[in-house]
């Protein structure tokens, strides 16, 4: 055991503030270093740590979306052989939230890893219409993750009906973090048909199977 006495108070000795304060400081510094140096390796596990003392994992099986599927801005006037999804009649180019904001409560400050994945649909057919050939308008569905309103990760995204995954890492201060999962729709091309021959709105973009996972590390 560490010996931390700065000075012993003697019977009949003169009492001053330093007699007490210096002894207190010696005690405090001893406590600070006691187990860092003297605990054996691997001695600390989940049984002797408070929850979230080291890290915290935030995960949602459906990515914060109902059924893991985009449900906002959905056009119901789409063909029966197409998803109810974003069309140019309901969606415009630019970023939009994929769902409600996510709050990472109890973030203690430090490193944050995050990933968002799922499946995405894009209609690629009209990327090279008349008067739009050099260059064309590649129809990408882009993705980005915002943390407290600033960009955490961004990706050009998918151009077909395929799987996507976007991930990033950053350092953030202590406090609850607000996460926005956003998608970006490419605008329509010149002279692009926006309806089928039957008058249904052309399905342009959709996401489903959405899931996210964030890991906060503060030690």
């Amino acid at each position: 055991m560490k010996h931390w006495t700065k000075r012993d108070a003697l019977t009949g000795g003169t009492v001053s503030a330093d007699v007490i304060n210096e002894e207190m400081r010696a005690h405090q510094s001893s406590i600070t270093t006691l187990d860092r140096t003297q605990l054996p390796a691997d001695s600390v596990d989940e049984n002797n740590l408070e929850d979230y003392a080291i890290h915290r994992v935030y995960a949602a099986k459906q990515g914060g979306l109902t059924g893991g599927e985009l449900t906002t801005g959905i056009d119901t006037n789409t063909p029966s052989n197409g998803f109810r999804c974003i069309t140019y009649q309901t969606g415009v180019s630019g970023y939009r939230d994929a769902g409600n904001a996510i709050t990472l409560e109890g973030f203690k400050g430090g490193s944050l890893f995050g990933e968002w994945s799922g499946n995405a649909l894009v209609l690629p057919a009209f990327c090279s219409t008349q008067n739009n050939t050099r260059p064309g308008t590649p129809k990408y569905l882009g993705f980005r993750i915002l943390v407290n309103g600033t960009v955490f990760a961004v990706k050009r995204g998918v151009s077909l009906h395929e799987h996507f995954r976007i991930f990033g890492n950053g350092r953030y201060p202590q406090g609850t973090l607000t996460i926005n999962l956003q998608l970006h729709i490419t605008g329509s091309s010149p002279e692009e048909p926006l309806v089928t021959s039957a008058g249904d709105n052309m399905p342009q973009a959709h996401i489903y199977s959405s899931r996210y996972l964030f890991i906060g590390r503060w030690r």
């Binding site: 001053s16 503030a17 007490i20 207190m24 005690h27 405090q28 406590i31 600070t32 006691l34 187990d35 860092r36 605990l39 691997d42 600390v44 596990d45 989940e46 002797n48 408070e50 979230y52 003392a53 080291i54 915290r56 994992v57 995960a59 949602a60 099986k61 459906q62 059924g67 893991g68 119901t76 029966s80 052989n81 197409g82 998803f83 109810r84 999804c85 994945s117 649909l121 209609l123 690629p124 057919a125 990327c127 090279s128 219409t129 077909l160 009906h161 395929e162 799987h163 091309s189 002279e191 692009e192 048909p193 926006l194 089928t196 489903y208 199977s209 899931r211 996972l213 890991i215 030690r219």
Partner: protein, 303 residues
């Protein structure tokens, strides 16, 4: 950093026995949770990574090869599109027909309420087709568009896909009871008429792979041109998928995970619900080649 909260003694302060005793009690173990030698100072604030259990954050990692490696694709596995439903699909396997299984060992791995299972996989695939399967009479993989000069044209939606999804065995290490993971269906749900597939809400572990692509070049005034309909194969590409199981949804012991491929499927809506349904009408000369990939599973503590 350890912490003791009490103002220091200043010159001129009166010093009483009780006051001194309180101060020393801050630093001792004498019967109070507020004493300095407490959980916070000696545990939370005093330990760091050298004292941490090695597998505290990530308890276990498992990895397996899916399929079989062949760099120049001289050998491949081929999955033909389903011509009828229900379709059993195809288990990802090596060139000898042995199913690729991500094993969690003879005792399995318990996923408790304090854990999360992170599952990732990738596979090298080559969707193939000949002709224009989306124009087959029974197919619904096309949109009918107005065409220049009158009449209409069938435009591939380019939304037709293959699906790959994981199945796990949580019963025993004999690995004889694989079922789709929670939130994932087997695409055999009969949702209308003779159609089978899954609602998107039960595709939570699905990775979709595009079957083909067609663009309508030089579309003018909202009308497609017959000469502008240019279709192409997707070609060899790497696809990847991910899925997470949060242990708070129910503790399980996982013994193994395997992957199943089905196709081809296409978007459809019935009773205001979005589905991926088999398009057996677009199955002629449609196949998916694949070689190899990797699967990884990580079991992490969530707190």
């Amino acid at each position: 950093m350890s912490r003791i909260t009490r103002a220091p003694v200043n010159e001129g302060d009166a010093i009483a026995a009780a006051d001194l005793n309180d101060r020393f009690a801050d630093y001792t173990q004498s019967g109070s949770v507020v004493a300095g030698i407490n959980g916070f100072n000696l545990r939370d604030a005093a330990v760091d990574l050298p004292q941490m259990q090695k597998d505290f954050l990530c308890q276990a990692v498992y990895e397996a090869t899916l399929g079989e490696f062949d760099l120049d694709h001289s050998s491949v596995n081929t999955v033909n599109a389903a011509t009828g439903v229900p379709s059993a699909g195809h288990l990802v396997q090596d060139f000898s027909g042995t199913t690729s299984v991500l094993s969690f060992g003879g005792s399995g791995k318990a996923i408790t309420a304090a854990d999360v299972l992170r599952l990732y996989w990738d596979l090298s695939v080559n969707p193939k087709y000949t002709g224009t399967p989306w124009t087959a009479a029974a197919s619904f993989s096309d949109y009918v568009m107005d065409k220049t000069g009158g009449s209409t044209a069938q435009l591939a939606t380019s939304a037709t896909v293959w699906v790959i999804y994981p199945e796990w065995d949580i019963t025993s290490n004999s690995l004889g009871n694989f079922v789709p993971v929670p939130g994932q269906g087997d695409f055999d749900t009969n949702y209308t008429g003779s159609r089978r597939g899954e609602a998107l809400s039960t595709c939570q572990a699905t990775c979709v792979i595009p079957a083909w692509v067609q663009i309508a070049q030089n579309t003018t005034g909202g009308l497609v041109t017959a000469a502008g309909l240019l279709a192409n194969v997707i070609g060899w590409r790497g696809v990847s998928g991910a899925w997470h199981y949060v242990g708070s949804d129910g503790a399980v012991t996982v013994f193994g995970i395997r992957w199943r491929i089905k196709g081809v499927l296409h978007p459809e809506q019935t009773s205001s619900v979005n589905y991926l349904g088999f398009d057996t009408g677009a199955s002629t000369n449609v196949s998916l080649e694949y070689t190899s990939g990797k699967a990884q599973a990580l079991v992490m503590r969530v707190k």
